[in-house]
Symmetry: C2
Subunit: 197 residues, 2 copies
Amino acid sequence: MGEPVDVTRAKLLDAAHDLLVERRGTEPSVAELCARAGVNVAMVSYCFGGKRQLLDAVLDRTVVGVVAQLDALEALGLTPVETLRRHVAGVIQNYLHYPYAVALGERLGDPDGRLAAAFAQPLLAFHTRLLERGAATGDFRAGVDPALFFATLVGMCEFFFSARTWMAAATGSDVDATLVARFTTHCEALVLTGLGT
Amino acid sequence: MGEPVDVTRAKLLDAAHDLLVERRGTEPSVAELCARAGVNVAMVSYCFGGKRQLLDAVLDRTVVGVVAQLDALEALGLTPVETLRRHVAGVIQNYLHYPYAVALGERLGDPDGRLAAAFAQPLLAFHTRLLERGAATGDFRAGVDPALFFATLVGMCEFFFSARTWMAAATGSDVDATLVARFTTHCEALVLTGLGT
């Protein structure tokens, strides 16, 4: 008797995540995915309908987790400055854990607007509320465009992880825990000072 | 009689640049490159030794141009604040003109350290000198790590162009001249304020 479909699905999602991390975003084949998951090669098709849908599901799972983090952070009721500080650190941690996510999203595209609705809109709404709250308390200067702020914040965190060749050349070392900690402090200072706190 | 090799090389470099821009970084085939350049299909091999070397040469040409811009900017002898403002605008313009460059560099890798020596080191040296100069005049706070600053500055400019799906979802519009101008003003303000000016 086989295992429940939910278990097989979870194994394939974990295998896809692990292989995308190991190969820095290069897509694994169906055979590689099934070998890593320890399931029969027909299971990608059976559980998801195909590799494209499996990769969509990996991305959806990441997005759900990231949006849940934003909700949890807001629920803490911290000051705008402390909320933004933790958000910056959270974005960097997400890049550490899901370094493939943005590039995979671009490659898969978003023909039905699902990713936009599930991720870009909640993240933009989070930034909009946070910038408004900080402007009201006088911690952030007024009039910062939330969509452009979203682009700069995510981008400044991403390059460090996506451009390893350049970063290794510039820093003279590989990305390790010490460098990530220094980078987090740097980004927090640049963003918090940059908003006029 | 054929045309001089230099002319054929330049046609192939321009064709590779144009196709990389049009296809948002997807590599063209040798047949496509030669068709676009209007040259015989054997010319990639004859002029460059292969497609990999042609793509290396496209990247080298971009890097030489970007480093020449940095030298020209420094030669103007402007204040640190004005130099940084123009540099931010210049990075954004370079992403408009060479949107494929960073991803192509990552894909090709840098086995012999040529890109690191030709690009990352001069750019890092430029940032190091600029941050030191600004700290000496009191315009920038002291102690900003040049390599981390390099990562955040380049990254904040890159995301806007590399993540079109997310940006279209977040801004509700395509990247056009008006949005690029607003984005440039936003980045200048974030970076200049972020450094403590």
